[in-house]
Amino acid sequence: MRLIRFDDWAKPVPPVRREVLSATPELDEGKPPVLFVPGFGHGAWVFAEFWLEHAAGRGFAAHAVSPRGHGGSAGSPKATLRAYAHDVVQAAASLPRQAVLVGHGAGALVVERALARYPARAAVLAAPVLGGWATFGAAVRRNPGGTLPAIFGGRLRLRRRQLFSREVPDAVAKAYAGRLGRASARAQWQLLLHRAPEPAVGDPPVLVVGSPDDRVVPASALTRAARRYGGAPLLFPGMGHDLMLDARWREPIDAILDWLEKGGS
């Protein structure tokens, strides 16, 4: 726990216009609101496809925020992980009740940082890209053409077949991939080189979900991430990296909501 926070005091993150997409249940059953955070290049729209409505149908107010430079939020070419985490904390604090944070891909890395500044009720890291050299090595081996330009500030590109399983029709996968944007060059570099996040405040339970057939996050990385929070990952074989857009999107979101209904532990 760090009490002295000169960055926050002397150099607050400048505000930008933020996009938050929401789906709310017709009847408030007192379930906690859920805030989804997309990974690099993705926007809030990836959750608006299926997961938001589905969560609302199960009684959870569901929201998705686009970090700056993503989706419908204002551009910010020099954004850092800290600025993305700021956007997440702002969106969470604007909800009427204490929220659950769900981060996907590199959004999980952003959520880990947000947890140090906001006492979430619980957190879910879905197919988390937590960075580091091992992840980089795997990415270069699998997709050198999409990874190497990022070293020089170019866009980090993931191939369609890394993101989606074969069950997603080609045309649909192509349309999704066409909507992807990019994170700032700085944030991409920070995937590789970043300080470990400060510890989470308020000691929230953390769940890790992913797919053993994810071609971005190896199964070993999922196990490692889950172990850090004292658990094992929930696995959904046969799915691609983008769990919320894949053909069987229903399974992971149902598992996440079941976990939350059981009190998140």
């Binding site: 726990m1 002295i4 926050d8 005091w9 607050p12 009427p96 009740r97 006492p119």
Partner: protein, 464 residues
């Protein structure tokens, strides 16, 4: 929500009155900014909490509906958002750097709702007595605000006092005050500049409130005298295009020696604000940081426009005039005394807080009673930042301390003996702060948080 105490059977007695046992529950006195942080952080650490609030809403002094609220229509914090908000619940990005007091209240209400604190607060209930009981527990006697209904006593495992220190007006006993025919009000009763319109006004007090009221009088009153005891450093709200406190923290971050920092800041203020003697004001008789910072961009502007006449301290009141320290007399219709507030803890015996003869509690880190490990005070500080960032960590430290006591009494005892009981009173500020009644609990936020950090780390270490 905790179960209603009405159904608990009294199995304990004190002086022939029943005492209802609340088990391991912690009592918090007051639901202002400090009390809310205490309730939230105690709950977060797994405690049951009963919070008593004499008013019917949260926000304490920031809630203008409360009779004891000191806020006036134009009141704004003098610290900017990052140094005003709770560190784990930021104010919205689309609010201004310095939010209006009604926004601060809205923020506190949102905090209470977001973390679902209201079910733990007993509104309209005031605390009459807090007395030590067996086993380091506390008997808290409450009644409906205003004295209706019977008194009830509950026994708690610990008490966190968060009753605020800006509600009991401090009015100096000036000579001849009773004979004065004009109107004298304390700043706590001042709400709206319309009260000053067309009047001749004397504002006493060079604090932030005094300066704010003088600025309003400059625009509404027919004349305004502003009386201060000494010359002060007036920081503008913005320096080099940034909120002054953020600019100041950028300097603090360099960890320069205090002397150098004082020199640097005095140079900057000289450049930005100028030599105050040109305006007929006195030169500060102290270095910067030695009194509570005054942040006001408009005071000097209005002095320059002739709206405010700076005058020395008040010597005595006469029937129709006020005599000043330099012998001159002014004839105001209205005197506004912005002479501050006094902390008061009537429900606690002075020994419990080891209070001095003047009634200043002597507490470890201005928060922990050295005598009673289960008694703490939250928010009894004045800082060069807002209070909320400090009171958050104070209450985290209190919650962690109580947790450790419960989980490992032996190690908690060692920790207490080693750090809390032994450490002498300290001032959590590098500068030699002026020893006036309003400055004894002045801290510098960085020095103070470093000390709290040490305590929180120590508690974590003792736990492991």
């Amino acid at each position: 929500m905790t179960t209603s105490t009405d159904h608990d059977s009294a199995t304990l007695w004190r002086d022939g009155r029943p005492v209802y046992d609340r088990g391991e529950t912690v009592c918090v006195v007051g639901a202002g900014p400090s009390g809310l942080a205490a309730v939230k952080n105690l709950r977060e650490h797994g405690f049951g909490v009963d919070c008593y609030e004499r008013e019917t809403g949260v926000g304490g002094g920031w809630n203008w509906r409360h009779d004891r609220s000191p806020v006036y229509a134009s009141a704004h914090p003098v610290s900017s958002k990052p140094l005003t908000q709770y560190p784990d619940f930021p104010m919205p990005d689309d609010w201004p750097d310095y939010p209006h007091h009604s926004q601060v209240l809205a923020y506190l209400e949102r905090y209470a709702d977001h973390f679902d604190l209201r079910p733990h607060i007993w509104f309209g209930t005031e605390v009459v007595k807090v007395e030590p009981a067996d086993g380091m527990r506390w008997d808290v006697t409450t009644r409906s605000t205003g004295g209706y209904g019977a008194e009830r006593t509950h026994r708690y495992a610990a008490v966190v006092v968060a009753n605020g220190h800006n509600w009991s007006p401090n009015l100096p006993a000036y000579d001849g005050l009773d004979d004065f025919k004009g109107r004298v009000i304390h700043a706590s009763a001042y709400k709206d500049p319309a009260e000053l319109r067309g009047k001749r006004v004397l504002v006493i007090g060079g604090g932030n409130t005094g300066c704010d009221i003088a600025v309003e009088a400059a625009q509404q009153a027919s004349r305004c005298w502003h009386s201060t005891r000494r010359g002060y450093w007036y920081a503008p709200k913005y320096l080099l295009g940034r909120p002054a406190d953020q600019f100041h923290d950028a300097i603090l971050r360099l960890r320069l020696p205090l002397r150098l920092r004082q020199w640097l800041l005095q140079r900057i203020l000289r450049l930005a604000v100028g030599d105050l003697r040109r305006f007929g004001m006195r030169r500060p008789d102290h270095k910067v940081f030695e009194t509570h910072p005054i942040v006001n961009s408009q005071l000097i502007y209005h002095v320059g426009h002739g709206g405010i006449a700076p005058v020395p301290d008040v010597a005595r009141f006469r029937q129709y005039s006020v005599e000043l320290a330099d012998g001159t007399e002014v004839e105001p219709d209205v005197v506004v005394a912005a002479t501050g507030y006094q902390p008061r803890f009537e429900f606690l015996a002075p020994e419990a807080l080891a209070a001095t003869a003047e009634g200043r509690p002597r507490l470890h880190l201005h928060a922990f009673s050295r005598r009673h490990p289960t008694l703490a005070v939250a928010g009894l500080i004045e800082s060069d930042s807002g209070i909320l960032p400090l009171v958050h960590w104070q209450t985290v430290a209190i919650a962690r301390w109580l947790r450790l006591r419960e989980a490992a009494p032996q190690r908690a005892g060692e920790f207490w003996a080693g750090t809390v009981a032994k450490e002498p009173d300290r001032r959590w500020t590098g500068a030699k702060v002026k020893d006036t009644p309003r400055h004894w609990f002045e801290v510098s936020h960085v020095d103070y948080l470093r000390a709290l950090q040490k305590m929180i780390d120590g508690l974590a270490g003792a736990r492991a």
